[in-house]
Symmetry: C2
């Protein structure tokens, strides 16, 4: 394909992509294909001779489209969103055109320098404490995903402890033995509701992992007291907690750990690296009404959130901020210390390869720059507030039918979680004097057995309703289990989200419950 | 930006990108900016109100273009190439449009299924042994970079050893202690000329690292005997080698380790995970004349090469093949074993998140599919052979001036390395009876001192010439040091590469040498 053929093919693709977005709301969000659908649709090996673009392009509709889950659909309310935007797509087009493996400054100065400046823009936009700006000892880097960031932070934390303990020891086999002994006793910590990537990162780093309790009575948040308790329990066993993922918006319920309390705790545990995972909810910090969450962050070692979730930058784009970039470079730079250059230390020249696991890097700051400029601060705030409001609206809808739904965690950052109330057994109903039987009807004898039965029935019924909705493919929701309770999660934060789709999914849920009761 | 504005902006961007490619050869390959050039060109924070696309787009020329290193230029002969192609760019455009974080099958079945089939296409295209196809116990996955792949393989290797040793031990604190003890004695190995990413991966995994000797007299390749020697030396110290990166095309000189010999060795060391890093040179395996390298690969645990280097797929796209996918899943899946499903085991449904470090995934197989179909097998072979031939041509040019250049490693996979002969001291010239003084003139007394002096002078002169070429910015070359010898590397394998550019860079090198001699 030469450049004139590309002009034609590229413009055709732009029209196809625009058409796709114009018709997204009409498509069922989930595909109806069965596992293995694709292999029979295409040959078993690459063609001997090249094929025309027309032939290739027509296969997108035939082969790919039937197997897509439409994450940009307004009916996608599962997981957390993964929003695209047109300016971000344009950024990626230019990034692809300037294609390079920009692993150091000279590999393409613009790639490094725009990233540094734009990460400062992002830090200011979120009102992050100044320690995370590049003009001091910290700074921001774009990595792929929050899970990659957590591995990066956790391994750096592991090596920081080792360095601190063995600071005065000469290099050699004996030091390597000692380092191995230290690593063997380290424990990474995370909320019991933290994303599983912390546990996976501990496996990768070869350390132990313990979860910190975050029960329903603290709204599934880790308190400073709970964290201290776990740390001390580990120490009593001769183990050394070295890392904690504090959660600003947990995966299950969007719970926020007690950041202010935990910030105080850091004084007692200076070797504990605290990373704040705000993968989804971090985007709300663009709005002043959420920025009260920011000051405690100054006490922590690192922070990250995914612009590819809720801030309109196409996947992948996770912004990772550290207080001391030296903490990363001391682990990830394999340039011996006598080759360190004053530019890198001063921040004039940054070699981001020394802040991360892979060597090569894409030009991802371009799409961030385009998005921040296209929307402006006011546009981004309006975007976030719209979805927060949709969450509140959905919360109200659920409460309007408290006879069948029970809100488990109220609308937080746009996410609502709830369960379906079970139909009480006839005996319980007979004994109940409430007009609206439910939990109370079960519990009118207040025995633990009745409580357990209620929970089991609620879980089963919630699961049935959840599966019924997703099996239809019109909407896509996610379920979870928190502290033994089966919940349905609804979060509508795509670009095309609207109140009418919240009402539609609510009606579908009501219908699913009532069908179940009619059986 | 709405979809109609995107239609206009996108088509404008397509034209700009095509124009960029049409004018690439006229631009100096290296930018002339100084560190810190970009920050003063743009505001210190994001704008309050959104800006128009016209304003944003015009900043590409003003802010970005002056700071780009043009990796697609035919005058880019540094590192290894990082080729783009128009079909790959189209693939990335659709991938961006269907934007999702496809971490499991239902997140977008097409993303998983196309990847499985297309990785089979790639394995067949390269004549990889059948063990790497998805219909057995193995299969391929697209990861970002070779360095990411090496971490993934090395950590999986570490955990495989631990599992094997502790197979019969019940879960609990005691087992965790034992596992830590085992990890503390593990050593990862790689050629002294292997890419630094193996050493970095060992740091990330928290294991030791030792390099295996690969001297000039084996053409910088690791032999089976050298590997065995290092393994036994480690064992004698109570350490346990568990992983080795075998190199198919080293970074410095494109050396190939003795794969057939090392394949034999695996019988004696069944716990040693051998990963073959063919990041650059692996692409040549599309040509039958290189496929004699493939049969020994069946003895190894994993193999990878970067389609984003030499096979026309935009960055990033590293193809990683494993013989037993279970070796990855046993480490990276944190789904407890009782939740494993028969689909995953059978290969009907693959959850690639369990084969890798990050959770989320992009739709990268689309660009691979487009490239393989657009070029066809014959087109890809022609593409590789063209660059191999350019390397041979450049080798001939150097040999035509053996009075000033000395080829260190002959053209291999398109790469030639060489040094500049020093001007001998007057005394040596006076004693020399050769018409073409050089190494021989230095060594006519054959003392180690004269040899060392020759090497030092050659290194200095080669470095001077190298720096002179790059400082002009017209061409971009890379230097390296192998076994104490300073070398210049030239590899011309971009899409626009042509003989005339090889001649131009050769003339520039001759001129730089002669300028130096005139001083």
């Amino acid at each position: 394909m030469d450049s004139s053929q590309f002009r034609e093919a590229g413009k055709g693709a732009i029209d196809e992509i625009a058409d796709y977005y114009d018709t997204l709301a009409e498509r069922p969000v989930l595909p109806s294909v069965a596992p293995g659908y694709l292999r029979p649709l295409i040959p078993a090996s690459a063609p001997e001779e090249g094929e025309s673009w027309d032939k290739i392009q027509s296969d997108i509709d035939r082969v790919i489209m039937p197997g897509l889950t439409h994450w940009q659909s307004p009916k996608f309310m599962a997981f957390y969103p993964c929003n695209s935007s047109f300016p971000a797509m344009l950024g990626d087009m230019y990034s692809g055109a300037f294609n390079s493996a920009a692993f150091n400054w000279i590999c393409s100065p613009a790639v490094t320098e725009l990233e540094t400046v734009v990460m400062d823009w992002v830090a200011k936009l979120l009102a992050l404490p100044d320690v995370f700006l590049s003009d001091g000892e910290g700074g921001g880097i774009i990595q792929g995903t929050a899970s990659e960031v957590i591995v990066t932070a956790l391994v750096a934390a592991r090596e920081r402890v080792v360095r601190r303990r063995l600071r005065d020891m000469p290099e050699g086999e004996e030091k390597l033995d000692k380092a191995a002994d230290i690593r063997g006793k380290l424990v990474a910590l995370g909320s019991e509701h933290a994303h599983s990537s912390t546990q996976k990162a501990a496996i990768i780093a070869g350390t132990r992992f313990r979860s910190v309790s975050a029960p329903k009575d603290t709204n599934f948040s880790v308190t400073a007291a709970a964290l201290r308790k776990t740390i001390e329990e580990c120490r009593a066993k001769g183990l050394e907690p070295f890392y904690f993922t504090a959660t600003l918006g947990s995966t299950g319920t969007c719970a926020v750990d007690d950041l202010a309390g935990i910030a105080e705790l850091t004084k007692d545990y200076p070797d504990l690296w605290i990373h704040v995972d705000a993968a989804y909810a971090g985007s709300t910090l663009v709005c002043p009404e959420y920025q009260h969450l920011c000051p405690p962050l100054a006490a922590f070692d690192s922070f990250n959130f995914n612009l590819h979730k809720w801030l309109l930058v196409n996947f992948d784009c996770s912004a990772f901020f550290v207080k001391k970039r030296k903490d990363l470079m001391d682990t990830y730079s394999i340039t011996p210390s006598y080759l360190r250059n004053p530019h890198s230390e001063s921040g004039m020249v940054t070699d981001y390869r020394d802040w991360q696991i892979p060597l090569g890097r894409r030009f991802r700051s371009l799409k961030v720059w385009f998005v921040l400029r296209s929307y402006g601060v006011s546009g981004l705030r309006a975007f976030i507030r719209k979805h927060v409001k949709l969450g509140e609206y959905f919360n109200e809808l659920l409460e309007s039918r408290s006879d069948i739904f029970s809100v488990v965690t109220k609308s937080a950052f746009g996410l609502v979680t709830f369960c379906v109330k079970p139909t009480p057994p006839h005996s319980a109903v007979a004994n109940a004097n409430q007009p609206n039987p439910g939990h109370e009807a079960y519990l009118n004898d207040f025995t633990p057995t009745a409580e357990a039965q209620y929970q089991e029935d609620a879980n089963q019924k919630t699961k049935d309703v959840y599966e019924k909705i997703n099996s239809k493919g019109e909407f896509f929701l996610t379920s979870s289990v928190v502290c033994g309770q089966y919940i349905i999660r609804v979060v509508s934060a795509t670009t095309l989200a609207e109140e009418k789709y919240m009402k539609q999914v609510f009606d579908a849920l009501v219908e699913a419950v009532e069908e179940g009761q009619g059986q």
